[in-house]
Structures are given as C-alpha cells and as structure tokens.
Symmetry: C2
Subunit: 279 residues, 2 copies
C-alpha cells in the first residue's frame, strides 16, 4: 500500500464524497475514484458502500481509516524528524497546553538548561487535545499531558505530579464562601454552565456551555461571569484578582505526565525526561 493511496482513501473517508475529496486533494474526481477502487481490489476489501447519493464507510473502511491515519502520522513523523536531524544538530520541541503547567514548565526548562549537555528546547504551546497529534506526527518531540483529560495512547510516559482540582469562580460569587464544592454543584450554577472542550477530532460536543479552546479564553469567560470551570490546583498562581477558587474534592485527580513517542529516545530527550522526573 502506497501512502498516496492511503491519503486518497483518508480524504474520501473523511469527506464521504468523492468530488469534495478530489477538490481537497487538488485533483479531478475520476482518477480518485479509480485509485480508491484499485486500492479496494488490491486489499480484497470493500471500503465504501456507494449508495448513489453519497458514500458510507464499511466496517473494513472504518478499520483502515483508524489505522491509516496512524500510519500516515508515522510516515509524516519519519519525514519531519529526518529533516530536523539533517539540519539542526539537535534541539528538542516540547509541546504543552497553553496556560497549563505554568509552574512546572519554567522549572523544568530552567533545570534542564542547567544540565551538562543540554540542547536548546523550543516550546510549542497549543490548544487542548492537540498535543498527541503533534507528538505522533513528529512536529514535537516531547510533551506535558494531563491525565485523564489527554490520552497517552501510543506514547511512552513518566508520571510527574498528581493534584486535585478546584472550581474557578468570579471573585465575589456567593459560592466562593464555601469550603468545598462538588462537581454537581459547580455544573449546576445558574447562568454559568461548564465550558465545552473540543474532542480529539476538533469538534465540540453538544450542550449549553460556551466553546473554549484554551485556558486564557476560559478564564476570561469566567471573569465575565459567563461560565464556571473546574481546573487543576496548579492553575491558581496564574489567576488574576478577579477570580476565586474553591476545592472540589470529588473531581478526578489530575496527573501531569511527560510523554514522548516510543522508539525516539535520543540522548537529549533522555536527559530532559530524567530532569523532569527528578523535579
């Protein structure tokens, strides 16, 4: 199977429409139809049900979509990492969620920079749920993830810290007088619904809350009294005076891990991981 065929298939599987997929791929529709049919013949598997009026994925097609995306990511990662290895003599790209781990991250970077043999570390801040993709397709070498929010599937990890969560409320809100709150109480505050985070595919679940992409955005909304949220304790130092926190003991505890793609444990990466676990 060639990556070209795989890319064609994934495009069609995502669009569920040969014409649009062809447009996205910058080609005409007939050769795309032909290529997909040829792939089906070679695999001996029907990938799409063509119900004249759109297409749908078969079971085998769903498998190939899942596995094929992972394979394409791996190919992209190989290409990117090779390019990087050829140009700069090293350097690491560390990815973290914008606004998270605001204490841990500078500590880690300082501690690592002080190590003998440390290489330059580029920090890549991204939105929620994008880290895994960046790690898997080679745009980043190592990342800070927060379990159970992020999934570490397919990545190697080391535990760093575990912490409880707190509710974030506008200063002066009646509930800020409470010693603790429950998840149910926070979720039920009138007029301040819990925000909705994007899923792994970048789309938002349905619901009443505002759609948020990163922490800055969320904190602003809370300051405006338009939302309430539950976040890890470590976000406290970065809150302005307009926000208050109340512990939420029944919220799941959050584990911060350092994660990296398997089989890519370079010397520099190993040093960074060692530094992180010693903090």
């Amino acid at each position: 199977m060639e990556t070209r065929e795989l890319r064609y298939f994934v495009a069609v599987a995502e669009e569920l429409h040969f014409g649009r997929a062809a447009e996205r791929l910058g080609m005409a529709q007939p050769p795309l139809s032909r290529a997909v049919r040829q792939l089906e013949r070679r695999l001996g598997a029907t990938l799409f049900d063509r119900n004249s009026r759109g297409v749908t994925l078969t079971e085998a097609g769903a498998v190939l979509l899942r596995e094929g995306r992972a394979a394409l990511d791996a190919v992209d990662a190989a290409e990117r990492r090779t390019r990087r290895a050829a140009n700069g003599p090293a350097g690491l790209v560390l990815v973290a969620k914008a606004g998270a781990s605001s204490e841990l991250l500078p500590k880690l970077l300082d501690a690592y920079a002080a190590e003998p043999g440390a290489v330059p570390v580029d920090v890549l801040l991204c939105g929620v749920g994008q880290q895994e993709g960046l790690l898997r397709d080679g745009r980043a070498d190592v990342g800070l993830l927060h379990l159970p929010f992020d999934s570490a599937a397919g990545l190697d990890v080391e535990r760093l810290t575990t912490e409880g969560q707190v509710a974030i409320l506008p200063a002066g809100h009646p509930l800020t007088g409470r010693r603790t709150l429950t998840m149910a109480e926070v979720a039920a505050i009138p007029g301040m619904p819990m925000p909705r985070w994007p899923g792994r595919d970048g789309t938002y679940p349905d619901g009443p809350g505002p759609e948020v992409r990163d922490h800055a955005q969320l904190l602003q909304l809370i300051g405006l009294g338009r939302a309430a949220a539950v976040l890890p304790e470590s976000c406290r130092p970065m809150l302005g005076p307009d926000l208050a926190t109340v512990p939420v003991p029944d919220a799941p505890r959050v584990t911060t891990v350092i994660a990296w793609p398997p089989h890519s444990r370079s010397l520099a990466l190993a040093g960074l991981i060692r530094t992180a676990t010693r903090l």
Copy 2:
C-alpha cells in the same frame, strides 16, 4: 514520502550495499540508486555517506531508519487489519512467548470464552522478543508481555500480575539445598553460565552462555547441566522432576502485562482486556 521509497531506503540501510539491496528488492541497482538519491533530494538530507567501497548511514539516515521502520510497520498493520476486518467478521490473535505464562494463559482463554459475546481467539506462540513486532505490524491484536524483559514502548498495557524470580537448577545440584540465592551466585556457578537471549534485532550479545530462543530449549539445557537460569516463579509448574528451583530475592520482579496497539481498541479486544484484568 511514499512507502516504496521508504522500503528502498530501509533495504539499503540494512544491507549497506546498493547491489545486494537491489537484489533483495527484486530490481536492478541503478533505479535503486536513483530512487534513494531522489529521496535525499526531496528530504533535503544526506542519508548515506558513499565512501566508495561501501556506504554508511549518516545521522539523519539513522533517524530515518528507526522512524521509517516504525512507519512501515504501521502501514503493514493498517493493511493486515483491514484485510482481516473484511474477511472474518472478527476474531482476535493473541501472542505469547512459548513456554511463558503457562498458568495465566489457559485461565484467561477459558474465562474469556465464557464471556457473553466472546469471539474466537487464535493463540500465536513466538520466540522471545518477537511479540512487539507482531503487535506493531498487525499480525497480532493483543499479547502477554513480561516487564522488564519485553519493552512495551508504543503499546497500551494493563498490569496483570507481578512475581519474583527463582533460579532453575538441575535436581541434585549442591546449590538446591540453599534457601535463597543471589543473582551473582547464580551467574557464577562454574560450568553453568547464564544463557544469552536474542536482542530486539534478533542477534545475540557476546558472552560465554549458550544462545537460547525459547523456554523449552533453555530448560532442556539446564537439565543437561549446561546452564543455569533465573525465571519467574510461575514457570515452576511446567518443570519436570529433573529440575529444582531456589528463590532469588534480588532478581528484578517480573510484571506480566496484557498489551495491545493503541487506537485499535475494538469491542472484542476490550472484552478480552477486561477479562484479563479481572482474573
């Protein structure tokens, strides 16, 4: 990057010889040379140092070899799993080291078969260190690994059991009278060196001990008085009367885990994993 180019590169990188690589690929040498050069141009990276009289990998080439193998495995896995999904309506392939987990494995299979909605499970017994490859390229869906011997890099795992290790000696050997032994003592028994296991690339490290590939082979050698070994406790029930065991408290404890490729958690696989963790 096309998989074809990647396969060509990997062949040359493994042979370090364009002629032999071309032969292995079933093609002539000139087009292979040209394809590799073109890949280098497209990547903007020199992959080989052509020192007239053989070739050697550059740093970037080493990166691409490592990452490219993983990528090719992922592509193969996608292809294999799609074919399987298209033909049989399911079934799982479970891989285990021949001779290991001899108690756990039948228990797991029986318990799973009794579950509602269980699918047929094919058991694939393999040599030491081959499980990861089989899982990564899609020939197997799930496996039993033994940490820290096997590496679970790039696989999702659930812990099943942890156990200590025992020395395996021929019955009647003077040391069988001891209550415990240390690793050092077992390694130093005259005339009975510790065996050498193959590494991840299938080659054996240098040393005095015999080369072994699976447990049956090893136990036979011990019975002949040609080797001593340290193995997990759970191997005891499968030893014949000609072998004796002595605990080795300072040997690393062995954790048996059930492992599967990430992103491939089918319903059937989830059931098997759930059954395993409940044992």
